[in-house]
């Protein structure tokens, strides 16, 4: 177990290093010149040159990269070229907002997707299965921006049930916070729930026909125990994998959703950063996103070893 853990952490570190290179190079490959963007299109060349000097943009790219890597490792992500604020601080300020949105969306996705998938599998071929499948397809096909706009129109504007946009920190007013986060969470959670439902359904169909499920039945266990103990545990392996991969979709979805609902989160930060060529901000956000992604996938792998003892316990016959 310990060696497995060590190996996984090592791989994660390598992924992070590679990602930092990709992020760094990728940002520099963006069309446009940061110094020009900062100084304004009409500025004189001398001012632009001064800005280049100030931010070290004249140094060779590898030098810039290692400076960036060294600073990042110390938690120093530089200063926004637009606002002059500390990027680490901006990110720490915005991160909780997006984390809350992601967590709520995850909750929506899990609460709908898992039970719907199980039910669809157990009632295969019935109206429950057909309805779940239809909604699953719909959930996958509907673009976030459209669903967001429709929800705002119907729930907020016409019915007046929930505020259409804005953000209130959770600890200031939990109710006001949740009121404003509910719609975005549903928008982001819908696609996720559809993916989870389909995965859960097919995984469940497979495990329910497994020999050990037949064994469980032959023991006289209740159908509940058969499904929730014997089948579910083994079905979750594939679902957890998909969940890890879906995090990427959740982050890119958050970019759009936060724009629509005017939520001051990560997604909005990155969009604003790209528009103003704010290299340090884009780099910082991308790096933190990658870290989050790697961390989640590490967690996924650790969850595997919990769900599947074959990974946890080495040795044995086969």
């Amino acid at each position: 177990m310990a060696s497995y853990l060590l190996r996984r952490v090592g791989t994660s570190a390598l992924v992070l290093l590679l990602a930092s290179i990709v992020v760094f190079v990728g940002v520099r490959a963006l069309p446009g010149d940061a110094a020009v963007a900062l100084a304004g299109e009409e500025s004189d060349p001398v001012a632009i040159e001064q800005i280049r000097e100030k931010y070290g943009l004249n140094d060779p790219v590898p030098v810039q990269y290692f400076r960036y890597l060294g600073n990042s490792l110390q938690g120093d992500l530089g200063f926004s070229t637009r606002t002059g604020l500390d990027v680490s601080e901006i990110i720490l300020d915005r991160l909780p907002v997006t984390l809350e949105l992601a967590l709520l969306s995850l909750l929506v996705g899990l609460l709908i997707g898992i039970p719907a998938g199980i039910l669809a599998a157990l009632r295969r071929g019935t109206w429950i299965d057909n309805t779940s499948n239809a909604f699953g397809l719909l959930g996958l096909s509907i673009p976030n921006f459209w669903l967001g706009l429709v929800l705002i129109l119907v729930v907020s504007v016409q019915a007046g049930l929930l505020p259409a946009s804005g953000y209130v920190p959770f600890f200031e007013s939990p109710v006001a916070n949740l009121e404003r986060m509910l719609l975005p969470a549903i928008v982001l959670g819908t696609g996720l729930s559809a993916v989870l439902m389909r995965q859960m359904r097919s995984a469940m169909l497979e495990t329910m026909s497994a020999d050990y499920v037949r064994t469980a039945r032959s023991k006289g266990l209740s159908e509940r125990q058969v499904v929730l103990v014997h089948a579910l545990r083994n079905s979750l392996v594939t679902v957890v994998t998909v969940l890890g991969l879906q995090l990427g979709a959740l982050i890119s979805g958050a970019v759009i959703t936060e724009q629509i609902f005017v939520i001051p989160g990560f997604g909005k930060l990155i969009v604003d950063g790209v528009f103003t060529r704010d290299y340090p901000v884009i780099q910082g956000v991308a790096l933190v996103t990658v870290c989050g992604y790697v961390l989640v996938n590490l967690l996924v792998d650790l969850t595997y070893s919990f769900l599947n003892p074959r990974i946890r316990v080495s040795g044995g016959a086969s």
């Binding site: 037949r214 469980a216 039945r217 032959s218 023991k219 266990l221 599947n308 003892p309 044995g316 016959a317």
Partner: protein
């Protein structure tokens, strides 16, 4: 298979059969229409007796076994009577049936590699059935699980009980399955090809355990197999099945000594013997039964074996041969019974 036919005195038993299967029929609804998997199987099993259901793949022997405790898929329609100690299992509600499964009648399946849940320890999988039916505490069930592993001769049971299935060999997994099956002291154990997936050297050990369970605990066993060596080794009585029908039934020594149905004769002829093995070199072949088991799209009023039978006459395709005694206590469903010359 050169296992000698051991003739054993019939086991002492009660007056009424412990398990009585009467005119069992199983039909599956499929997209291509109904499949008549089992057509009128009947047999009685006394306490402490081992009965073998024998036949080729697809003859309905496993379906028969699964139908007894109601383990078939919902697409199956089961009719007839399955009396366990006088109670018809086919009449029970699902809940009543669950109280019977694992407690009064239990199963050992063919595939030891996949029949145990990979996510749980061996101990948990044994404890589960004890906690379900005997109401044992977790601690008491764990202690009993260790005893059961000892009973099925797993070495170092205190350590093995906390291991996962993937850490055990196939033979050991099958022993664990047997431990689960006998945990609650069932009256009837249904063993569906219990040794087919195992190495020959391991097979003997598993068969010994089954025999000892019968001798020591008095467990009656329904043994599903296509291996006549296993039958000769273990069974008291044999039901030979073909295409969903029972074609011959007899005590084991009677059947091996005087097979009546041409299909049974064919099965016995397809078993290699040592003296035959020598002659194989000289170019002789094992007797084989030409043709394949038919797809069971219908239950025709004729002998289902007729298309493959060398004794076929017009009568065979005109009506169904009844399963009637052709020797004392030895019924066969054939118009032309007798031992092969």
């Amino acid at each position: 298979m050169t296992t000698p036919v051991t003739v054993r005195a019939p086991q002492p038993s009660g007056d009424y059969p412990l398990l009585s299967v009467q005119d069992l029929r199983v039909r599956f609804a499929t997209e291509d229409g109904p499949v008549f998997a089992v057509n009128g199987v009947s047999f009685d099993l006394r306490a402490g007796e081992i009965i073998a259901l024998v036949g080729e793949s697809g003859c309905g022997k496993s379906v028969t076994a699964m139908a007894v405790p109601g383990l078939l898929a919902p697409t199956a329609t089961v009719t007839g009577r399955v009396l366990l100690a006088g109670r018809d299992l086919l009449e029970l509600t699902p809940k009543e049936l669950r109280a019977v499964r694992g407690k009064e009648i239990s199963f050992v399946f063919q595939e030891p590699m996949t029949s145990l849940n990979p996510a749980f320890t061996v101990g948990k999988q044994i404890r589960e059935v004890l906690q379900r039916h005997e109401g044992l505490s977790k601690k008491a069930a764990q202690a009993r699980a260790v005893e059961l592993l000892q009973l099925v001769r797993i070495p170092a049971p205190e350590r093995r009980v906390d291991e996962y299935p993937h850490q055990l060999s196939g033979g050991m997994r099958q022993r664990v399955m047997i431990a689960i099956a006998v945990a609650c002291g069932p009256k009837v154990l249904v063993a569906d090809e219990p040794t087919t997936a195992l190495d020959v050297t391991i097979q003997a050990g598993v068969l010994d355990i089954l025999r000892d369970l019968r001798d020591e605990l008095g467990t009656a066993i329904v043994l599903i197999t296509h291996d006549l060596g296993v039958v000769a080794d273990l069974a008291d009585r044999v039901v030979v099945m073909y295409a969903g029908r029972p074609v011959e039934q007899a005590e084991v020594h009677e059947l091996f000594a005087h097979p009546q149905h041409p299909y049974t004769n064919g099965l016995l002829g397809a078993v290699p013997h040592r003296e035959q093995g020598v002659e194989l070199v000289a170019g002789r072949r094992l007797a084989e039964i030409p043709g394949l088991v038919p797809a069971l799209r219908s239950d025709p009023d004729e002998c289902v074996f007729a298309p493959r039978c060398s004794r076929r006459t017009d009568v065979c395709t005109s009506r169904r041969p009844p399963l009637e005694p052709v020797r004392p206590g030895h019924p066969a469903a054939c118009f032309h019974p007798g031992e092969a010359s």
